[in-house]
Amino acid sequence: MNPTSLSSAEKKTEYAYITLSQLLLCIKDVINSEFGSRTFWVVAEIAKVHISKSGHCFLELVEKDGISGEINSQANAVVWEENYKFIDAYFYEKTGEHLREGLKILFNCYVDFHEVYGLKLVIFEIKPEFTLGEMYLVKEQIINRLEKEGLLIKNKGIPLHPVIQNIAIISSPSSSGLKDFIDELSNNPYGFKFYYHIFEALVQGEGAKDSIIGAFERIKPYINFFDVVVIIRGGGSKIDLNCFDNYELARYVALFPLPVITGIGHQPDVSCLDMVAHTNLKTPTACAKFIIDRTYSFYSNLQNLLKRITESISLIINSRNTKLQEILTRLHYNIMQRLSEEKNKIFKFMRIGSSVEKIVQQKNYHIKEFSSRLKNLMLYNINKERNTLYELLRKIRFFVQNIIQEQKYQLKTYIARLENVYSSYIKEAKHKIEKLENSVKLLDPVNVLKRGYSITYYNNKPVKSIKELGKNVRITTKLYDGKIISIVEKLFKEGEGE
């Protein structure tokens, strides 16, 4: 400190003062004497990072209240360019991150005070292991929260189509993983067609979160078209994946309406994004294989079903054939049985026929018997009738005979009376007749014949002329006491003769 300059200042004003530089130098002295040779291991959170043109890394470090989260301490720090190169490389190698806002770091530093640049912690060593541990803690917290909110299984609950054919790809177009993915898909050995569109996004580093969400937002209008969203990142180092351990991104992906497949890294630990995804695969190639295999399994399922159909058909046909054969056999058997049954029936009928015949004969016999009985009965009746008739007849006859007798008797008496009446008359007539007879007797040819006359008959007719006779005719000559039969020998007319 320069006492002369101080005194001159005192002169000008009534206050004793020192210059800024004097003060700052004082402070610098104190700090140097107190901290100059010492180094400290300090934990702080990076609030801001600035890399200067000359390659120095300027950091704003803060400490937040554990409860309120408000900043309760703040300090500037620097990593000089000659250190920063190595520190950054090492840190990145270990954590996959460059120093960035939000990271907690454990660093070794000394305190430096500069009159112009003020208090600065000069960092010459950073322990990435601490940050890594912190990051793991943060990740664990994120995972716990996602789990609590049911977001780890949310996207997994969306059914994945048996065939993934329309694919929304989120990737950086320059990513070699994207090329692997597309090559694998396009050159699948089965000739499956896959349709995809690449929704470009940063898939590493700080801007990745917003960029990926942006890509998802652009997919949203086409969720009915795409079967799946595939996030691809690959080819590069295993690090720089911390962008995927982000709660906001994980939540967004978990709630996305399409199943999400991730193929974003090789690291043994999966990221939060992987955890919320529907399916998490190690590499883009694995994603492509997964999709192809799934499609192939569908395809071979089709083949299998076709095979089963073919087999079933041949089985069915065989069994139908067997059944038909069986039916035919049974039919044949049935027909034969039926035929023999019918035959038997016919035989039976024939037997019945003969018995019918017998019956008919029997019936005939019965009828005959019946008719004979009927006849007998009729005869009996007729006889009875006849007898009755005879009786009647007899009675009639008797009656008639009685009548006849009576009549006869009456007639007799009548005749007797008549005889009585007429006998006198008859006697008188007899007398008259006798008288007449005596007179007639004198005229009788017999009396004539007795006197020697005869009558010649020819053909019972008295012959009165010879003209009536011929030669050789038989003539009968009646005499008083007999007849002479003679044959005409000769005929002589009166006057002729011998």
Binding site: H161, E200, S319
Partner: protein
């Protein structure tokens, strides 16, 4: 591809096919039914295979539309 049947999804196709095959395997189908079912099954299988292995111009068109609109959005 048969446009009228474009709407058959792989899921519904495979479900229907599995049902058909189960039905056929259970042998509880009449011959007429069997023929119909097999026809349907063969159609579905053919349809799926075609859909899997033949480039679909309709889908291509949709992709082109997406390409256009996505480029517009992204830039």
């Amino acid at each position: 591809m048969n446009k009228a049947n474009e709407k058959i999804s792989y899921e519904s196709a495979i479900k229907e096919l599995e049902n058909i095959v189960k039905g056929i395997e259970n042998k509880d189908v009449s011959v007429d039914e069997l023929i119909e079912k097999v026809k349907r099954a063969v159609f579905l299988i053919k349809h799926c295979k075609e859909k899997l292995q033949t480039t679909d111009s309709e889908i291509k068109k949709v992709l082109e539309e997406i390409e256009k609109s996505d480029k517009g959005n992204n830039s």
